[in-house]
């Protein structure tokens, strides 16, 4: 018995060293380490103003303001253009702002309104000096205290955001205009509909492809489908990448998303639903299977003991 344990010890130690070497250790050597900041966006300026919702509404909904490009379903304002037209006009489809106040960090929104290319960390792509303007124009003020006006607009967006945003909606609003998720049956135009006729199916497919072509031209390449990204990248990678794409992939055309911690958790929950759907079942069945093997082993041990008694 003592001898067997000693042998087991040798086997376990060598296996553990091997495992450590090819898994945790190798991964630290293969991937660049990036420290996250839990969506604090410390490079952006903090707003000290307290926003006024009513004034914010006037600014957001006013002529030539946000709603000139963005839809806001929450207040029954339709987007001025459909997705296909918008993507042709701007290169990217401007998001509906209904959930923005609930998904994105307040600090990020303030900076985004003031200077989009800077907040989105795409200044390497959009440089005014080189004549390359970001499709979202910066807010130059409506005549009053600009900082106050921006705070008002953000306060308004926060006031209209639904209390509870589902993981799927969070994903669709934060990622879905560029990234398809075929396992979640989502394309860049939203939920992929099912049609009775093949003609309609193909028509929709063509619409998606045309949208994707525009997106490709705008982004440089088609942003990847995120169906199973939760298993293709580590959680740490996803978190730090979403927080600041440049930190993991310098020069990427993916903008900083600006999610708040809660917003990211929602998106992650959806990515887990589509990419790792067995997680709940695994966690439910796992303990029972292990209990079974444990009981099996105990019984086997008793059998072994009785068999070897006279040997």
């Amino acid at each position: 018995m003592k001898n067997e344990l000693k042998i087991l010890g040798v086997v376990v130690v060598f296996t553990a060293i091997l495992y450590w070497g090819v898994e945790p250790f190798a991964h630290t050597q293969m991937h660049k380490h990036v420290d996250g900041e839990h969506f604090a966006y410390s490079d952006l300026n903090e707003s000290t103003k307290k926003g006024n919702v009513e004034n914010g509404k006037t600014l957001v909904m006013g002529a030539g303001a946000c709603t000139g490009c963005h839809g806001i379903q929450a207040v029954a304002h339709k987007a001025p253009m459909d997705a296909a037209t918008a993507v042709s006009a701007y290169g990217v489809n401007p998001p509906d702002l209904s959930t923005a106040g609930g998904l994105y960090s307040e600090k990020f929104l303030v900076n985004l309104i003031e200077n989009p290319a800077h907040a989105l960390k795409v200044e390497h792509k959009f440089d005014v000096a080189k004549g390359k303007m970001h499709p979202m124009s910066a807010f130059y003020g409506a005549g009053g205290d600009k900082a106050q006006e921006i705070a008002d607009m953000v306060a308004f967006l926060k006031s209209i955001a639904p209390k509870e945003i589902s993981p799927k909606n969070a994903y669709m609003d934060a990622c879905g205009r560029c990234h398809a998720n075929r396992y979640g049956k989502l394309d860049q135009l939203g939920q992929t509909p099912t049609f009775k006729s093949e003609t309609d199916t193909l028509k929709h497919k063509v619409a998606v492809l045309e949208y994707q072509d525009k997106l490709k031209a705008y982004m440089g390449k088609l942003p990847p489908d995120l169906s199973i990204i939760i298993r293709a990248r580590s959680e740490h990678f996803l978190e730090t990448f979403v927080e600041n794409p440049q930190s993991q992939l310098e020069g990427t055309s993916m903008p900083r998303v600006g999610l708040s911690t809660q917003g990211f958790e929602k998106v992650k929950a959806y990515l887990t639903q589509t990419g790792d759907p067995s997680k709940t079942a695994r966690e439910k069945i796992g303990p029972w299977v292990l209990l079974f093997t444990l009981v099996f082993t105990i019984l086997a041990y008793l059998w072994k003991k009785s068999m070897w008694k006279d040997h």
Partner: protein, 411 residues
């Protein structure tokens, strides 16, 4: 025609026709195993069981898997994982078993080396075991192609490239095989023809070969018998007689069933706790994240590496320039096969009681682990140097083995 009496029971009826009682005696009740063994002797059973798990889970996966470059990835990652009841469980069992089976193979193999169970009549056991290792490797590689992810595609590309042979300017180009790589792939790059043939190999041809080799491996045990912890040679007839007379304590043997089996099943139980822990809670090591990106021939992954069980031989290839690397790689594949013939000692005993071989064994184990770890690390700076040294040490160990073991006979 033989004369048959009317049977009084089904057992008797079958016995008359199939000699079941005799068969049972020969393969189980009176199949004698030495008593002086430890749990490492159960690894054969653990391997047989893991192989069975692979076959059964594989059959379930096969019902949904689609060997087409357009649908393979989603049939594995979506259909099986989301739409098929417990499809995820079969897949995780298959994936984890495919990785863990190699851990057990290595333990089984090193047990054989440590106790000297490859020589003096046991050569065929060793050689059939090494053949099993090679075919298992091919089985693992072909299976790795099937999800058609980035690592499937690029590992397929890199490994089939090896068949290009030596540079055309070596030996007048005689060792260069133009067109061989394309012939293996069925295309210039891995594509549909490639996937279909690896699918066939994985689910048909190679499993058949494995089953035949397992039969040979078991049969090869019959005459030389299983080795024991001290490499002791004794008279099995004598020992069996003693056992059958009831002197079970004095006898050096035990019957396969039920005494040896009871210990096997216990060890199997411990193994299964470990195995299912991995299946439910720790499966990422066996399912590389890179392979969850669909195959893309235009986008090379930052790091291409084989699964962990191929890393040591990959690292014997990698640190050298192309042609010497191929020679070293070929040597690494053959080295373990030659073990019974490189070991010039007649002693069958644990390595720790065998003079210089003791050091040889432990240096070999450590070197294999170093090679494995270096094989995964990016080939830069210090890692490259360590890898090169470890590869040279590996080759030197096997070249030196005849001299290491020669002197044992005099002692």
């Amino acid at each position: 025609m033989a004369h048959f009496e009317k049977a009084s029971s089904i057992t008797e009826w079958l016995d008359q026709r199939l000699a079941l009682t005799t068969v049972k005696k020969v393969i189980a009740l009176e199949y004698w195993i030495p008593k002086n063994i430890n749990f490492l002797w159960a690894m054969g059973m653990v391997l047989a069981f893991t192989f069975a798990l692979l076959v059964i889970s594989g059959i379930f996966l096969l019902m949904y898997y689609q060997p087409s470059v357009d649908t393979a990835f989603d049939s594995v990652n979506y259909t099986l994982m989301s739409e098929v009841g417990f499809g995820w469980l079969w897949r995780h069992i298959h994936g984890v078993a495919a990785s863990v089976v190699f851990l057990v193979i290595y333990i089984h193999m090193f047990t054989g080396i440590y106790y000297g169970s490859y020589k003096k009549g046991r050569e065929i056991i060793w050689l059939s075991g090494m053949l099993l290792f090679i075919v298992f490797s091919a089985e693992a590689f072909s299976g790795y192609m099937l999800p058609w992810g980035q690592m499937s595609y690029w590992a397929g590309m890199v490994i089939t490239n090896l068949f290009e042979g030596f540079s055309p300017d070596i030996a007048g180009g005689i060792l260069n095989a133009p067109g061989l790589v394309e012939w293996i792939r069925g295309d210039y790059v891995p594509g549909q023809a490639f996937l279909s043939r690896f699918f066939m190999l994985h689910v048909l041809l190679l499993p058949l070969v494995i089953m035949a080799l397992i039969a040979l491996h078991f049969a090869a045990l019959r005459i030389p018998h299983v080795n024991n912890q001290d490499g002791e040679e004794f008279d099995y007839h004598e020992a069996a007689k003693l056992y059958k007379e009831g002197n079970t304590k004095e006898s050096k043997v035990i019957p396969f069933q039920p005494v040896f089996l009871s210990k096997d099943v216990f060890v199997l139980g411990v193994y299964l706790i470990f195995f299912f822990y991995l299946v439910f809670y720790h499966f990422n090591f066996a399912m590389d994240p890179v392979n969850f990106d669909p195959a893309d021939g235009l986008k090379t992954p930052a790091h291409i590496y084989p699964e962990w069980y191929f890393l040591w031989s990959y690292e014997i290839l990698r640190p050298f320039p192309k042609d010497p690397g191929l020679i070293a790689f070929g040597f690494a594949q053959m080295a373990f096969f030659l073990l019974p013939f490189l070991d010039k000692s007649d002693t069958v005993a644990p390595a720790n009681r065998r003079g210089l071989f003791k050091y040889w064994f432990w240096i070999m184990i450590v070197d294999m682990i170093v090679l494995t770890v270096m094989g995964k690390l990016p080939p830069q700076g210090i890692w490259n140097h360590i890898g090169l040294v470890a590869a040279v040490v590996f080759i030197a160990l096997f070249v030196a083995l005849p001299w290491v073991t020669k002197n044992e006979n005099r002692a």
